[in-house]
Amino acid sequence: MGIRRHVNLGSYALGNVLKYGPRSAVLVLALMFSTALLCSTEFIHEGVTVDIYASASESPDIVVQRLEAGRQALVPQQWVKNASVVRGVRLVTPRVWGYVDIGGGRLVTVMGVNASVYGLAFGAVGTDVLDGGRFIQPDDRGKIVVGQGIVDLMQNAYSPVTIGVGSSLGIVAYNGTTMEFEVVGVFSSQARVFSNDLIVTDLQSARDLFGLLNASGFTDLAVWTEYHEDINDVAFRLDTRLAGSRVLTRDAIRDLQLKAYGGRAGAVALVWATSLASIVLVAFMASSAASDEARREVGLLKALGYDTVDVIEIRMFEATVISLFGASLGVSAAVFFDFVLGAPGLALFLLGWSIPLLNNGIPLAVSAQTIFTAYVVAITPVIVATVVPAWRNAITEPDTVLRGV
């Protein structure tokens, strides 16, 4: 068939979109809203996911915790020895963790490690120290390396402070006194949520901060395996060897985090937004005012000699124009809402308690797949809701359709 006819039908459909302005506008707005909701949720969800994967790549192969009556308890000194002799274990360092206040109520994480061992673990978080600085050394006391996020945080503070190698940082200890630390290095990290605003120091300094006695033990053990070993096998051996332990592999930690941070919230919101959009649209398009007019139009076109495929082509075109436009507005709105405004409200809903720990903003990521999904989710219900009734009317006798009986 000639191209002219398609051009005619397309321009007729476009005319319809413009002429039925209020109707089109309602649809575009509904689509914009649902797409924006879906995308801004997905950007956060995806940001968190990307972050968790980045963080997993910086974390030890295995983390060993101790459970006492089902709750996490401190790991005794003896476990460091016991773990290091397990077959397949390459490095073990005990760690001491905690949240501290670095002024103005901003909470960051401090991790104390055994510098001589930890420094050997290639790619471990905190070891990628930027030029001009260094990692903490075995005899260091009161020295810290800080994530780039800490530098940014202090720079953007109410009274800005520039943090760099050689500067000192006051950290509020367990008893409310402020302890001064010297920054010896700044590290960069891919993972925004978990390590960008991390502070790494030696075990003793961390203990002092948290008020832990020497003998009381550690928060957990970080374990790296021999390169040829299967991590799960080593984890199994550790588990058997250390009674009362909880042994988590890197993958297990990642999965736990994916679940805790928005994995489920994201999926739920996605389903919710999708179905909301479909329901609203289908309900609207089935509403008598719009559908009555549309039905009469189809009856007339058929009476005038339009083929069923012509009618469907017109409706497809209308639906596509409207939904592409609505979805594009929605994606743009989501980008603005998330990246410019920082997703007020939504971020809190999705990430919950972790928000106060995200000193440098929520993690965000956009992928082609998300955008594609958003468009598909916007376009499909509109096309179905437009084309199906049009098709049914188009295959019915024109007289019946025109009279509306």
Binding site: N8, A303, L304, G305, D307, D310, I395, P398, L402
Partner: protein
Amino acid sequence: MPTTIHVEGVWKVYGAGTPREVVAVRDVSLKAGPGRVTALGGPSGSGKTTLLCIMGLLTRPTRGRVFIDGTDLTGVSEVFRTRVRRQKIGFVFQAQYLLPQLTAVENVALPLLCTDISRAEAEELAEERLTELGLGHRLHFRVAELSGGEQQRVSIARSLIRGPEVLIADEPSSSIDARQTADLLAVLRGMVDSRGLAVIVASHDPRVLDWADHVYWLRDGRVVEAGQ
């Protein structure tokens, strides 16, 4: 190519088997040929519109057969019937069925958009038709902004835009004045005589019935009288 439509023993029953059963057309046979005006007369509710719909392939008879140029089109596919409507038939509907959001020109051009004529050409032809019918000053008014008589003439222009071989017109003069009716009948007569247009018209208007070559009178769905 001149076209003949004839129906043989057609019935149309609505709501068969229900308490609201209506026999709108019963056992009608008639023929409408090229170069002639065939009129349907009769009281309101006698089945004129229904019969026009059957002859125009807009609905199928409950019983009986519809022929166009001797071919039985009663049972053929909707696709085929649609093509015949597109290629041969122009309609003036009793209820007009104009699209109120479109202008007069756009409404008239509508039957050409599903063909391979460009939109610009189609609208040019539409303007000519509308001007012929005295609507040159209302070309780009939206139909909702036109008077009843003006709308009726838009609808007539639309029925003629593709140069049909058969014109099926349901009460085409119901909203226009005596002067415009006379003009319209003259225009149509010109087409009937010059290129053998077949006109099938339903009307209460004595001027239209007098003007026809052949009148079938209906009552309760039956032809009760036929005359020249």
